[in-house]
Homo-oligomer: 232 residues x 2
């Protein structure tokens, strides 16, 4: 696979422009020359073969060929609502669930959560998604939702959207049962200290089944990646 | 849960001794006092409540109560044979698959692999297993096998041991089918560049089915953790 670069806007009339870090990486780090071939994508589910036609100080212009679409997802789209861990663990979580094909990550505000999803944190998450998409060949960006509480996110459980809450009090996660007939799946993963009884009760009322992921105490990012692997 | 400490040897006659880093952590970092209560385990599937009775320069003596056994595993034990990534990714992989309950990790020597499992690297892996077991409440250490080639590890596929090879050319992984009737499961995860045709042919001959984990190019540690989550 040729190296992949992220476009802030899709190509128009067979022409695309790389800007910012992407342009600098291609022009200065990789020392690209006019005529070099790369792959570009804009996070919209399509990638294009492209050839460098002009290298400017802060941008690289490319001619693009016929776009190719991402293969369709095998199952219903998965939204993970996660009480995000901090630092490296957060970064790792985003990389892994992007690779695994999660459609949307929603930072979850919980009573025992620690990391606050500030605008700069959300921008860092988005950057992590792009980097992972470049690396793993995914053409559709994982969406990063606005931070919400447990009650707020549970409001999505209407119609064909099925939900689960990762919690040691639950039954073993049965992915096939959960996915059968679902238009979409929402999974909630709580903070290190777990969900409070009130949060679990809210999930019960909303119809989100409690599911356990095994006998050990999983870190937040492990639980999130395990849920993603099981439900993709 | 009280803090957990690792014993190099199980208690005898209701008495246990912490040594090395474990003793230093309890005595100097946590400034434990005689009478303090902790949990100890020796990686043998049992943990014990314990009370500090003497704090020496390099060791801590404890009285131990009645041992409690790890809950039995839900399915057949899983061995992951992995062409290990380097550095932080290797450390992360070990932490995650220990949390998820993988029975055994075998460093896999492949034609395109990069990391060599030296004795010091294996000791680092073992240390990572202990740290993860302390954190996640697992009482049975994940075993670290001696490094083997693909051909060597495939020799384990006899009798009730079922095998799979993670490869994009395979069918979607069906965990229920693979685990049904299996006494044990062996999963092979290759290096960034993938298995060679010769390695895949050897797996085919040994009866290890090829299984894909989705449309994207997963990093080694993502594939290993995804396989673990799916097969536990």
């Amino acid at each position: 696979m040729s190296e992949r670069f992220f476009l802030e806007a899709p190509p128009r009339d067979g022409r695309a422009v790389l800007t910012g870090d992407e342009a600098r990486h291609l022009a200065r780090v990789l020392r690209a020359a006019v005529g070099d071939e790369v792959i570009v994508f804009a996070g919209t589910g399509i990638h294009w073969p492209a050839r460098v036609v002009r290298i400017g100080r802060e941008e690289v212009e490319l001619d693009t060929g016929a776009g190719r679409a991402d293969p369709p997802a095998a199952g219903p789209p998965l939204t993970l609502a996660v009480a995000l861990p901090k630092g490296e663990r957060q970064k790792w979580l985003v990389e892994k669930i992007t690779e695994l094909g999660v459609a949307r990550l929603v930072p979850l505000r919980t009573e025992r959560g620690v990391a606050e999803a500030t605008p700069s944190a959300v921008e860092r998450l988005r950057r992590g998604v792009i980097e992972a998409c470049k690396q793993c060949g995914r053409d559709t960006l994982m969406e990063i939702g606005a931070p919400v509480t447990v009650t707020e996110v549970l409001a999505a459980l209407t119609g064909g959207c099925r939900g689960l809450v990762a919690d040691p009090s639950g039954s073993p996660l049965d992915a096939a049962v959960l996915r059968a007939g679902a238009d979409a799946v929402l999974a909630l993963v709580g903070p290190e200290g777990g969900f409070t009884d009130a949060e679990l009760a809210a999930a019960d009322r909303a119809g989100a089944g409690r599911a356990t992921l095994g006998p050990h105490i999983l870190r937040v990012e492990t639980a999130a990646v395990a849920v993603a692997a099981r439900l993709m």
